[in-house]
Amino acid sequence: MENNRKVVRIALFVSLALAVYLVENAVPVPVPIPGFKWGFSNFVVLMSLTMLGTRDVLWIVIFKVLLGNFLSGKFLSPVFFISCFGNLSGVLSMIALSKTRCFGYIGISVIGAFANNLAQLAVCGVWLLRSVHIWYFFPYIALMGTVSGVLNALMAKGGEQWFRTYRKN
């Protein structure tokens, strides 16, 4: 019974993350960076970090990246690899930081966004474009990552509260 509940939760979180992943492209981006995304779907990952176990969080991220890229037709394209490495380092850093118990939602979220962006730039600079000049984008994405990280933290907090009241009813 407990296992069923877990599976349902993972499925729910994956579909929520996917919906956000696909819809967030409609939100305009204020920086001149190609392929920049807000990364709002990470608020679901953040939320699952406190509501589910570490292994479940990793599954959610893997499903989010695979299905998200399937649905947007980017599977195995350069964007897919950028997204893979970004999400992986983002979630690993968030898990590590949440284990220390020194940081709240905002710190964990900001570092997740930062690690995500850093890994994406690294994949572009070292592997895809092989140019050091791609790091010109770093200040922009560090700032935007902080903004989206804070927004994600607020959304995760709201989402968690909603889930708690929902369970009572």
Partner: protein, 130 residues
């Protein structure tokens, strides 16, 4: 919000400010450099208007086909007629300052501007460093 959160945000902001100093600033663009797969492939003066075909990285066809048209006009640089699907490089618009980039990931093309930094000593207004 905990103390650690503030420290983290401060650290990230500090790092981005430090990085911003590394990026060329306060320069006038003089040269357009096109890198393909990490190597400098083309170099043009920004003062000469023109339209130049760019051959991006295409291992399948051995780099023989034009993948983008680079436009230089009135000191501004932009890309048109990109052959890829997403056209992100076209949507990046016009760049005119060193530190700005146009990037095409599918064809491994990176377009940047180089400038001459005028050293502001006052004594030698024409002194130029690279």
């Amino acid at each position: 919000m905990r103390k650690g959160d503030w420290l983290l945000i401060g650290g990230v902001l500090l790092l981005s400010v430090a990085f911003a100093y590394w990026i060329p600033h306060r320069q006038a663009a003089s040269t357009v450099i096109v890198e393909v797969d990490g190597r400098e492939a083309y170099r043009y003066s920004i003062r000469e208007d023109g339209e130049y075909p760019i051959r991006g990285y295409q291992p399948a066809v051995g780099r023989s086909e034009t993948t983008h048209i680079l436009h230089i006009r009135n000191g501004q640089v932009y890309v048109e007629e990109a052959r890829c699907r997403d056209k992100i490089c076209e949507r990046m618009g016009k760049i005119d300052n060193p530190g700005q980039l146009i990037v095409c990931v599918p064809y491994k093309v990176l377009i940047r501007l180089e400038g001459d930094r005028v050293v502001d000593t006052g004594a030698h207004p024409d002194a130029v460093t690279r």
